[in-house]
Amino acid sequence: MIKVKCFGVAREIIKSDYFELNRSDLSVKELRSALYESHPEFSMIKGFMIAVNQEYATDEMAITANDEVAIIPPVSGG
C-alpha cells in the first residue's frame, strides 16, 4: 500500500488529505498515470510534481511502500 499526501487543489480533487494506492512499488511516472486515470480532473490543472521523501522526484524514480510520497500541484507561496 502506498499512501500519497495531497495538498491544495490536489486535496480538493482527491477529496481527502491522502490517496491510497494498492501497490507495493511503482515508478513516479506510473503514479502519475494512476492519478490521471482515477481522477480525470487532474488534466484540468496546470500539472503537478511528485515529491518522494520531501524531495522533488523525476519520472524514473522508484517508489516503495516506506516512502513519504506527495502530490505537489503548482506552488503559489510568497
Binding site: K5, F7, G8, V9, R11, E12, M44, I45, K46, A51, Q54, E55, Y56, A70, I72, P73, P74, V75, S76, G77, G78
Partner: protein, 140 residues
Amino acid sequence: MEVKSIKISDTPLSIDDAYQFVQDVSCGGNCLFVGTVRNKNKGKTVTHLNFETYEPMALKEMDKIADQCLEKFEVKKIAIHHRSGHVGLKEIAVVIAVSSPHRADGFMACQYAIDTLKETVPIWKKEHLEDGSYWVGARP
C-alpha cells in the same frame, strides 16, 4: 554562529524579528522584502488568503534557498519567514531579510530568494474573493 533563520508560522510575522536576526556589526547593508496581502487581483476584490503548506518539505526547500543565497552571493545572514493559515488584507505573507557587506549582493540575494521561493517551496495560496475562492496558479 547561526546564519539562517527559516520559519513557517501560523501567527503574524514580525519584520523586526527577521531584521534583528540578520543584522550584524560586520555588515552595512540589510535588504528586506515584505510580501503583503492586497485587496485586488486581476480586477477581483480579495477578502483574505489562506496558505496551505507541506511544512517539512517547505522548510527544507526554504533552507536550500538560504544555502544558495549564502553560496551565490556575498551574504552574511538570511531569514526566510512564511505565514500559514488565514492571512487578512495588509497582513504579512512572507518576510525575507539579508545582511551583506556590500548592498548590491544583498539586493540580488533578497530578490533571488523571493523569486525562487515562489517557484519551488510547497506552499499553496487560496485567494478568497467576495464571490468565491480559488487556488492561485493552479489552473491554466
